[in-house]
């Protein structure tokens, strides 16, 4: 009984208090025919030592090499302090701060997080978290439809240059509320803003930089969307906002809703999760924002303190009319991201973003110096770029892996001639030697 503290004496005395002979009696309200006889098909428990040995072997199996994969999940360096602090029991093993007075740590941190994210995106408010970037986009679209009551349509435009898994998630989730997701094809890796028909659209989405790493004309689309009475939803990588114009400043009056995935802010790649999704918006729309929000208030003596606020939006109060069904969110990752942003500060984040841009440009220059390799698009990119390798990307990837290089994301089916293309990425964690090793793998592959 690994974590059960009861001694025989404890059990006996508790049974005695209850006036029963055995714990079996406690289950006498469960109809006999649905009781099962244990879990014979689940092996018996093992010790922590054996479990860790087993899982260490498994983890060891998956050590792959130098990562040039991005595509929505990035190999950034995480300062040691981030997880040392986030793993403290008081952060790790608390739950939703329902009892505010016993949760001031988490609540103040969330308030600070909201401030940072709002500033990063140049929006007024941020929530403290939905599940991930993909589900955040789904929530953003649902929110846009609730907010934009003027619009009678349920037509939402989403560029094909959006992350394909985000697109898939959006489709799974939002179509059930009668929303019509229309994909806008891209041309040369970017969304052709002037060609878009915004008639009757309730909202338009734009990912910046887009899935292919390419910079979109967010200013024009935002202005155009607003002119057409549509809301503008930005999907962003928060790290890039150290250098890129924040969505709050896009076009005429900025995006209306901003969402994205927080993984680049101090969250390990960890097979893609847990990470966290965020949503920011204008104060006018805050009551339609899903997810937890902390607010500053006062205690009975007039001292400042923090509580969960605007809970009337949430399922535990509003039930069927809630802004979302979300309850458990990704709080611990918000904690880590807040510590990360604090340790980096504005200057640190600029340096990380700059190194990512620089390294990816270096990588692209180096790889395209090889006769077989060319850039697929000729557009400005941030820290990801599509390269054509002139041979099947799947096989090439396996060859690279033999040299300890995780070379990129094959784009089969995602762009024209994608079978020979990969989306590559070099973060600040890649060195010039790493890039050179990639080139060598390419030459010797």
């Amino acid at each position: 009984m690994p974590f059960i503290p009861h001694t025989h004496a404890d059990k006996d005395s508790m049974l005695e208090t209850l006036g029963i002979a055995s714990t079996e009696e406690l289950f006498d309200e469960i109809p006999k025919n649905i009781q099962c006889d244990g879990l014979p098909d689940v092996p018996d428990g093992i010790s922590e030592m054996s479990m860790l040995r087993h899982m260490a072997e498994r983890a060891h199996n998956d050590t792959t090499g130098i990562c040039f994969l991005g595509a929505g999940c990035y190999d950034h360096y995480i300062p040691a302090a981030v997880w040392d602090i986030a793993s403290r029991g008081e952060f790790l093993t608390a739950y939703t701060p329902y009892q505010a007075e016993a949760s001031q740590g988490t609540l103040q941190l969330v308030y600070e997080f909201q401030t940072m994210l709002a500033s990063l995106t140049a929006m007024d408010v941020a929530n403290a978290s939905v599940y991930d970037g993909a589900s955040a986009l789904a929530e953003a679209i649902l929110m846009a439809v609730r907010v934009n009551r003027k619009s009678k349509s349920r037509r939402v435009l989403v560029p094909a240059s959006t992350h394909p898994f985000y697109l898939a998630t959006v489709k799974s989730i939002v179509t059930h509320q009668g929303i019509d997701v229309e994909i806008v094809p891209s041309v040369d890796g970017v969304t052709p803003i002037s060609d878009i028909d915004l008639d009757e659209a309730v909202a338009v989405v734009l990912q910046q930089p887009n899935f292919f790493g390419v910079l979109e004309d967010a200013d024009s689309l935002t202005t155009k969307a607003h002119e057409a009475g549509a809301l503008m939803i930005g999907v962003v990588n928060p790290m890039t906002l150290a250098l890129l114009k924040p969505p709050g400043d896009w076009g005429d009056t900025g995006a209306d809703i901003v969402c994205g995935d927080g993984q680049p802010l101090g969250i390990p790649m960890a097979s893609g999760g847990p990470s966290f999704g965020f949503l920011c918006t204008r104060m006018a729309h805050v009551r339609q924002l899903p997810g937890r929000i902390a607010g500053r208030t006062q205690d009975k003596d007039g001292n400042d303190g923090f509580v969960l606020t605007l809970q009337a939006r949430e399922q535990h109060i509003r039930r069927a009319k809630a802004t979302s069904n979300i309850c458990t969110n990704q709080g611990l990752l918000v904690t880590a991201a807040t510590i990360y942003m604090t340790l980096l500060g504005p200057q640190g984040l600029v340096e990380v973003a700059s190194a990512c841009v620089r390294n990816t440009h270096l990588l692209v220059d180096r790889l395209t110096s090889h006769p077989n390799v060319t850039k697929h698009f000729n557009t400005p990119f941030f820290h990801e770029c599509v390269l054509d390798f002139g041979e099947p990307a799947d096989k090439l990837q396996q060859k690279f892996l033999k040299h300890g290089i995780l070379g990129g994301h094959p784009l089969t089916g995602l762009i024209e001639k994608g079978e020979q293309s990969m989306l590559v990425c070099a973060t600040e964690a890649r060195s010039e030697q790493d890039i050179e090793r990639y080139y060598e793998a390419l030459e010797n592959g």
Binding site: H6, T64, T93, Q104, L243, G272, M283, G295, Q330
Partner: protein
Amino acid sequence: MVDTIFEKSRPSRRAAAQRIEGEVAHQLIPEPYRRTSPPALPEVSELQAVRHFTNLARRNFSIDTHFYPLGSCTMKYNPRGAHRAAMQDGFLKRHPLTPTSHSQGVLACLFELQEILQNVTGTAQVCLTPMAGAQGELTGALMIKAYHADNNDHERTEIIVPTAAHGTNPATASMAGLVAKEVEVDADGDVDLESLKRVVSAKTAGVMLTNPSTCAVFERRIQAISDIVHDAGGLLYYDGANLNAILGRARPGDMQFDVLHLNLHKTFATPHGGGGPGAGPVGANERLAPYLPTPMVTKSDDGYRWVDESERPKSIGRLSAFMGNVGILLRAYAYSLLLGGNGMCNVSEYATLNANYLMKRLADAGFHPAYPDRRATHEFAISLRQEAKETGVTAMDFAKRLLDYGFHAPTTYFPLLIPECFLIEPTETETKEELDAFADAMIAILREAQQNPELVKQAPHQQSVGRLDEVHAVRHLDVTAH
């Protein structure tokens, strides 16, 4: 409160060990795309950051520091070994799009977890990707919809939930484009069958139930409910939030549920992280399994691999960018290895023993269990209505005063149908001594309520802040420091 981190910020101060060498890359970004003013992130030293967040942490109650009997949340011990297992470099540094050939370690863990959860729930297949209970519910609702659509049964637009249901159930219904229909709960906490029969119809897509229910009693007529709903062509969804009560003792699949989710952050002891992350894997019987989301993991001769829509054409699709909360799934897998099938049976036994014991102690002291004639399950509800009437001290006041006694408060005012409710879930990992101390604190507070009600109404007195004004927070909305 302590100063916010922004008050500690000074222009151009920084944690310089985090510097990255090299020039700012402005010139690589065409001018119209550039940011012109820096974000207002705090500018502090590394020590300031460490000290600030360490001290914030110290202002939290948590399982590691306090008894935390939050009903419906299963705040049991979160094994440090499971955390360590998931925090290994091999797992943390794995990119989600790493080819299968180099992912056999994590895939093996996930595949085995699928199998364990199938066994535990009595379902045919399990998909691990939903990222919390509520996403599991949405998954289930969408699967039910997809099933009916597949059968050209397009009129089934209603989903039945008990009045006592958790808020996520009706909210999920709406999110799935279904209409939540409420069904009454009788005086003993069971679903009222007559009420159920009235609400069931040809429009019924399904019913969502927790068993044990959110009233903290076992739904004894589950068979009858199942028959009524199934006969009407509806399906049964099991909300697994309360699985801790019956782990290894009764399986939802054996109760005729068609689809269900588990809350790994509850039953499988993954840390709650101050609000999350969790994981809400969904299991289904043969009938509904084809609709499970993607990706899933399968095993073939040449190892483990992902399965996507190409092989599962009926799937409702993808619910997250990658594979859900893998890190949490790994912790749950580690936990299930530690417990094994035998250990899981002990969980429900001792969770139930603890709840019944604490209920008895409180009842003996004069408190009022919501369902005095029923067994407690892994948790139980008491109503403080009478105490509130006699002393003016509400359940919320009791809750705040408990903090001063060194206990996190139970869940308050849920389920809504029990007035001045405390939903108390001690979990199996707490000692008898801790339960006794909690009961003694409740008794002491009751005495305070009788003798000095203001003391309790003004509580807490020994926390870093006094009772906080939630109404003020909404009226004077202050959600960012700038």
